[in-house]
C-alpha cells in the first residue's frame, strides 16, 4: 500500500496556534497587569506627594505681611513611612525661590485649583514631583505660593517589580493551564477525523457504501467528496467487472464455437491423421481457455490478498462443496474421491480465495491421477492449525516437488498430455501466504502426490 505524502499535522498545527495564542495572551495579561499596577502605584504615590505638599501649604501663615513657613515634621516623614525614599521639596513665591531645593523642577501647569505632576531626574535618581499652588494676598498684591514635593521611586519600583513577578507567575500558570486545555481541545477537535478514518479502515474491501455516520459541519465537504469518490470507484469497478466479463465472453465464445465444431467433425472423419489433428486443436483450445481462466484467477487472488475479506467459514463445508462441484470430472476418469473430514473446522478466512485454492488443488489431483485411481481428501484441526490434505494415487511430483511447481507458469515433467497452465499451485501458494498459512507438497511413499494446505485457527 502506498503511504500518504504527509506534510504537517492538524494536531500540531492546532497545538501551535492555540499555544501561540495562549502565550501571546499570557504576555498581554502580564503587560496589562504591570501597566495597571504601575498606574495604581503611581496614583497612590501622587496622592501621598499631594498630601505632603498640601500639609506644607497648610502650615503657611501670613504674619505682618510676610509669608511664614513652618514645615510640619510629618510633611517629609510621611513620604518615608513604607520604604526608604529620598525626598525633596521647593517653595516659590511667584518666581522667587523661598526654601528647599532650588534646582528641583516644578511641574508645569500647576494652578491654585489643580496640582501638577511630573517625573524627572534629580540628583542622580528618578523622582516624582507634585506641586500645589495657592494665592496669598500680600500687601494687597496677589502672589502665588508654589510648593513642590518630590520623592524617589523605590516603592513604585519595588511594588511594580513585585506585581510583575506575580503577574509573570500568573502568566506562566495560565500558560501551563492552556497547555492542558489545548491538549484536550485538540483531542476533541481531531476526534471526528479519527473516527471517520477508523470507520473507513474497518470496512471490507468491497464496501463502497457512502459514509452515513454524522460528522461535524466542517468535515461535510470531505465526506461529500469521499462519498463521491467511492461512488465513482464503485461505478468504475462495476465497469471493469463488466469489461472483464465482456472480454471473457468475446474470447471464450469463438473458442467454444471452434471447439464444438472440431468435436463434431471428429465424429465424422475416419482417417487417423485427421483425427489426431482435430484432437490437437481441441486440446490447444482447452489449454488456452484454461490459461485465461487461471490468469484471471491469479489476478483476482493478487488483488484480494492485499485486503482480505475475512469471514467465519467452515472448512469442511467448503471442501465438500468443491468436491461436489468436481465429482463429475472425477467420475469421468473413474476416480474415487474419498473424503475424511472432521465435523466442522471454523476458520477466519476469505472464502472466495480459499475456495479457489481448494478447487485448484483438487482440479490438479483429478488431472494427474490416472484412470481408476483414488484421491483422498481430509480436513482436520490441530491445536493451532486447520489442515486440508489431498493425496492421490498418481505418479507424484517430479523431484519430490521440491522446487518446480510453485514457480509461476512452471509445469511438472509428467504433465505431458494434461491440459494445465501450471499457474494453479502458484495461485494456491499466494492464497495461503495471504492467510499466513502454508502450502506443502511432497510425494507419499506409495508414489502419489500429497498437498497440504495449513491455515492458522481463529
Amino acid at each position: 500500500m502506498t503511504a500518504p505524502v504527509v506534510r504537517g499535522s492538524i494536531r500540531r498545527r492546532l497545538t501551535i496556534i492555540f499555544l501561540s495564542a495562549a502565550a501571546a495572551l499570557s504576555i498581554l495579561v502580564v503587560l496589562a497587569i504591570e501597566s495597571v499596577a504601575r498606574q495604581a502605584v503611581q496614583t497612590s504615590q501622587d496622592n501621598i506627594l499631594f498630601a505632603s505638599a498640601v500639609s506644607i501649604m497648610d502650615s503657611v501663615q501670613l504674619r505682618d505681611g510676610q509669608v511664614v513657613i513652618d514645615l510640619p515634621y510629618s510633611s517629609l516623614s510621611m513620604l518615608d513611612s513604607v520604604t526608604d525614599e529620598r525626598v525633596f521639596y521647593a517653595i516659590y513665591l511667584d518666581q522667587d525661590f523661598v526654601t528647599g531645593y532650588d534646582a528641583l523642577p516644578i511641574p508645569a501647569g500647576v494652578t491654585d485649583v489643580k496640582g501638577a505632576y511630573q517625573t524627572a531626574g534629580f540628583l542622580g535618581e528618578t523622582v516624582r514631583i507634585t506641586a500645589v499652588q495657592r494665592v496669598f494676598a500680600i500687601r494687597d498684591v496677589a502672589q502665588n505660593l508654589t510648593v513642590a514635593v518630590a520623592q524617589t521611586q523605590t516603592n513604585v519600583r519595588q511594588t511594580v517589580e513585585q506585581v510583575r513577578r506575580w503577574a509573570i507567575g500568573m502568566g506562566l500558570a495560565f500558560f501551563m493551564a492552556s497547555v492542558g486545555i489545548t491538549w484536550i481541545l485538540v483531542e476533541f477537535a481531531t476526534r471526528p477525523l479519527r473516527r471517520l478514518a477508523q470507520s473507513i479502515s474497518r470496512r471490507g474491501p468491497k464496501d463502497l457504501r457512502p459514509v452515513a455516520a454524522s460528522v461535524p459541519r466542517e468535515m461535510a465537504p470531505l465526506v461529500t467528496s469521499l462519498n463521491s469518490l467511492m461512488q465513482r470507484l464503485q461505478v468504475s469497478l462495476k465497469r471493469s467487472e463488466e469489461f472483464i466479463a465482456e472480454a471473457a465472453h468475446r474470447v471464450r465464445t469463438p473458442l467454444a464455437i471452434v471447439r464444438t465444431q472440431a468435436d463434431v467433425t471428429l465424429h465424422r472423419v475416419e482417417k487417423e491423421q485427421n483425427r489426431k489433428a482435430l484432437r490437437d486443436i481441441v486440446r490447444a483450445i482447452d489449454e488456452s481457455s484454461r490459461a485465461a481462466g487461471q490468469l484471471l484467477d491469479h489476478a483476482m487472488v493478487t488483488f484480494r490478498a492485499d485486503d482480505l475479506d475475512r469471514e467465519r467459514v467452515d472448512l469442511t463445508k467448503l471442501v465438500h462443496a468443491s468436491l461436489e462441484q468436481l465429482r463429475p470430472l472425477a467420475d469421468l476418469r473413474d476416480l474415487d474421491l474419498v473424503a475424511q473430514t472432521a465435523a466442522s473446522v471454523w476458520v477466519q478466512v476469505d472464502p472466495i480465495l480459499i475456495q479457489n485454492a481448494v478447487h485448484n488443488v483438487l482440479d490438479n489431483a483429478i488431472k494427474y491421477t490416472p484412470l481408476l485411481g483414488q484421491i483422498q481428501v481430509s480436513v482436520q484441526a490441530t491445536a493451532t492449525q486447520a489442515q486440508i490434505t489431498v493425496t492421490d494415487s498418481g505418479p507424484g511430483f517430479p523431484d519430490g516437488g521440491k522446487s518446480l511447481l510453485t514457480q509461476r507458469f512452471q509445469r511438472g515433467e509428467n504433465a505431458r498430455g494434461v491440459v494445465g497452465s501450471g499457474l494453479g499451485l502458484t495461485i494456491v501458494r499466494d492464497v495461503m501466504a495471504a492467510h499466513n498459512g502454508t502450502l506443502e507438497i511432497s510425494n507419499i511413499t506409495q508414489g502419489g502426490a500429497c498437498v497440504i494446505l495449513s491455515l492458522p485457527l481463529e
Binding site: V68, I69, D70, L71, P72, Y73, S74, S75, L76, S77, L79, D80, D84, E85, R86, V87, F88, V98, T99, G100, Y101, L123, G124, E125, T154
Partner: protein, 340 residues
C-alpha cells in the same frame, strides 16, 4: 587596647587646624602601616579615643590597611562632603540630620550590608546611612543634685525642682547652645517634638541663668569640677568614659529619653568603595553582630532598657528641621525661651 595599637607602630598626629582643606578639622590620626597615602580615609565627628577600638579591631583582621582618621565638627563634615567634595571613604557623624541630608542630596553611595548581620529596621536608611551605635541624651548631675531630685527623674520634676530653688541653681545648670551645636539642635528639636514640657523647661532654665556650651565634654568637665550641678541633654557616654565618672550621676529622663544614633555612610567621593564597604560591614558586625549582641551600645553608655525611648528616626523627617525657615523659627523661639 591602645597599647596594642601603639605597639604595632601606630602614629598619632594631633593638628590644631588643617589648612590643606577648606573645612576645619579638629584632630587627625593614622593607623596601621605608616604611609603617606593611606588606604582608607575616615571623616568623623567622634573623638579619636572614642573610635579607636573600632579601628583597632578592624586592623586585627586587616593589618596591611592604613587608615587615616580625621575629626571635624558636624557642620564642617557637611561642608567638606557637600560643598567641597573632599575625598573621604567613610563619613561618621552623630549629626543624624546632616547624615540624612548628605544621603538624600545624593552624596552617599548605596551599600548592601552582609546578610549575617541582623540589622534592625531603625538602624539603616535607604541602604546609604547605617547606625552603629545609639546614645541617649542624658542629664549628668552632681551627687548633691541627685539627692535633691529624689526618686523621680522626669522633666516635670526637674522643672519643679528648679522653680522651687531659683537662686540655688542660678548659673549652675548647663545645656547646649543649639545655635552653635548641631547635636544640641538635634536633641532640642526632638525634645520639642516629643513634648511641650521642653519649652517650659527651657523657660525655667533661662530664668535661672542657664549656661550654654558648645560640646558635651566641656559641660561634663564643668559638672565634674563642681562648676555646674547639672548638664542637660549631654551624651552620657562621654561622662561614663571620664576617669572620674563615679563622682557624677548619669540620669536618663524617665518621661522620655531621646536616643541619638551615630551613623556612617560611604561618600560618593570615595576612591575605595570596596574597602569602605568592608570597614562599614565591620562596624555593623561589631554593633549588631552576634559577637557583641544586637543593639549594644558601642560606647558602653547607660542602659536603655528601663526608659521610655524616643529613638530619633533616620529619615527625611529630619530634613524638616534643617529648613532655613524652620530653623530660624525654632531658634528664635528657643532664644526667646532661654534669653529672656
Amino acid at each position: 587596647m591602645r597599647y596594642f595599637i601603639l605597639a604595632i607602630g601606630m602614629m598619632w598626629t594631633l593638628i590644631g587646624a588643617q589648612v590643606l582643606h577648606g573645612f576645619e578639622i579638629e584632630a587627625r590620626a593614622t593607623f596601621g602601616p605608616p604611609t603617606n597615602d593611606p588606604n582608607l580615609r575616615i571623616l568623623s565627628t567622634a573623638d579619636i579615643s572614642y573610635f579607636e577600638p573600632m579601628i583597632a579591631s578592624f586592623l586585627e583582621n586587616n593589618p596591611d590597611i592604613s587608615i587615616d582618621y580625621t575629626v571635624a565638627s558636624s557642620s564642617q563634615v557637611m561642608q567638606a562632603i557637600a560643598a567641597e567634595q573632599a575625598q573621604f571613604d567613610l563619613v561618621i557623624s552623630s549629626a543624624m540630620d546632616l547624615q540624612i541630608k548628605l544621603a538624600n542630596d545624593g552624596h552617599a553611595l548605596r551599600h548592601a550590608p552582609l546578610r549575617t548581620v541582623e540589622l534592625p529596621a531603625w538602624a539603616h536608611w535607604n541602604s546609604m546611612v547605617f547606625a552603629f551605635s545609639q546614645e541617649p541624651a542624658a542629664m549628668v548631675v552632681s551627687k548633691a543634685f541627685l539627692d535633691q531630685m529624689g526618686g523621680t527623674h522626669t522633666r516635670q520634676s526637674l522643672i519643679g525642682l528648679i522653680r522651687k530653688n531659683p537662686d540655688k541653681f542660678r548659673g549652675r545648670i548647663g545645656t547646649y547652645d543649639i545655635r552653635r551645636s548641631g547635636l544640641g539642635y538635634l536633641f532640642a528639636t526632638q525634645d520639642a517634638r516629643g513634648s511641650e514640657t521642653y519649652w517650659r523647661l527651657m523657660e525655667v532654665m533661662g530664668q535661672s541663668d542657664v549656661q550654654l556650651y558648645c560640646c558635651s565634654s566641656d559641660m561634663i568637665g564643668d559638672v565634674l569640677s563642681g562648676k555646674l550641678d547639672m548638664a542637660y541633654n549631654v551624651l552620657g557616654s562621654y561622662a561614663q568614659r571620664h576617669p572620674h565618672a563615679d563622682q557624677v550621676a548619669i540620669i536618663l529622663p524617665q518621661d522620655m529619653t531621646t536616643v541619638m544614633l551615630r551613623s556612617v555612610l560611604i561618600p560618593k567621593t570615595t576612591q575605595q568603595p570596596a574597602l569602605a564597604g568592608l570597614f562599614l560591614d565591620h562596624m555593623l558586625q561589631r554593633a549588631f553582630g552576634t559577637q557583641t549582641g544586637a543593639g549594644r551600645n558601642l560606647a558602653g553608655g547607660p542602659s536603655l532598657e528601663s526608659s521610655a525611648i524616643n529613638r530619633i528616626g533616620l529619615g527625611p523627617g529630619l530634613l524638616v528641621f534643617l529648613d532655613r525657615y524652620k530653623k530660624q523659627r525654632f531658634l528664635s523661639e528657643w532664644e526667646s525661651a532661654i534669653l529672656q
